[in-house]
Symmetry: D2
Subunit: 141 residues, 4 copies
């Protein structure tokens, strides 16, 4: 990928991150971003546990969804999620460091498909697939 | 539905709610629960906004997922989410009071399918469909 | 619903049915159509059985997908399927008369969400959810 | 992968293929199979066209679903599809030679997740994701 594409991805991410109270408030870290890809991390905290004592699916989804958003906005074209599917494979526990890795799977017109894998040190926690639609306009102000 | 079923649903919900730091911490309220159904509410707070200034999809999913969990554990048989699909229809804004209504769509063996509709006062925000699997054991201690 | 809406749905369906070699070739029958709804039927034939001796999922999906198409084109606005999810609940057997019932769940801009239930005489065989997008143009020539 | 795994995959596929009237009747060809993977092909015929003059989604799904089935039964453990999601990216036209490639994405207990990409010579037609569940018993008689 070109340096230009990398630079655009980093600038788009910086513009999004500034206003992203949700991702910041959950302690997420944007570890890497490039054209069509992103990687984020988050640690499972006590406030994220559900009634079964495991990480609530909403927080696992939130991590995947943020990573998807940074990846699908990386070309400086505003895009939003339409339909997302998540399969929970193994529970995430208190203290687990979760890493989510997003990659573009396919593009067709203004729709794109992204896959995000969420892992803890023991293996795959969840697989997420999101369909985005570009809505016009740029991410970088 | 029998009074017995309603009572079991309420007791299962109470047992789950006690340990559900995630739902409590997000300000969710369990408004109603019965055999195979549940209704919860949550208000969109500043900490829930994403880089587009709208409610982050993760919190909308979390509300739907909690409501799904209370509905699919309402028969006092422990069940967990497997695959969930969410379609985002219109953005939720700061201050919106969101209501999620879950209902059992179908049961086949140990798998069940639930639909959850998330609404704000203006209309439908998202439609969620979750597949659960009962894992054995009771919810009520 | 208005008589005008019903008439438009019937005319859209007639226009689509004429060229729909796939639905005709599989022996489907369009039993009912109206604004945002449709019902079709199909019998499981020997040529539809898979290696487990049950109806191949592709034919169950095809019946649901056709019913979805007739429902989401019923307002005389050309629409195509984007993302569809199907959950198989119980197998369909040779000779089963399958009925699929589609209904509009939600509309947001040019995207619509439809649910289709596929049943045999014993109960629910599959639940299908399809997201369509209108692509401009009319169905009726 | 071991020769033993390859041999088991080929024998499982042969046992399934014998009774698979559906895949045979649609002109599918099993081009390759191995542990957790499979590749099949099918040509779009006039009988597969829908009312828009494109390949009916049911046949694209059927090709993906068959490929998924051969991949997820390749370890000689009977498995069936539970929830499948398909995203249609570009239409397939009359005469298109479609190729579907399935690969195992994740395994958790008795559930497995497979991705299937369907392509024509021009690019990606659809992306399919299927969750299977092993139901006990062997494929090879």
């Amino acid at each position: 990928m070109s340096d230009e594409g990398e630079l655009r991805a980093e600038r788009s991410a910086a513009a999004m991150w500034t206003g992203d109270a949700a991702s910041q408030g959950l302690g997420m870290v944007l570890e890497d971003v490039g054209p069509g890809v992103a990687r984020m991390a988050m640690t499972v905290e006590p406030r994220m546990l559900n009634g079964h004592g495991m990480c609530h699916g909403g927080f696992i989804f939130a991590l995947a969804d943020s990573t998807f958003a940074f990846a699908c906005n990386s070309r400086d074209q505003r895009a939003v999620a339409q339909t997302c599917t998540i399969t929970f494979l193994t529970p995430a526990q208190l203290g687990d460091r979760l890493t989510a890795t997003a990659r573009e799977v396919a593009v067709a017109g203004r729709s794109s498909l992204y896959d995000v894998r969420v892992e803890n040190p023991a293996g795959v926690v969840a697989e997420f697939r999101g369909q985005s639609r570009s809505i016009g306009g740029a991410v970088i102000a």
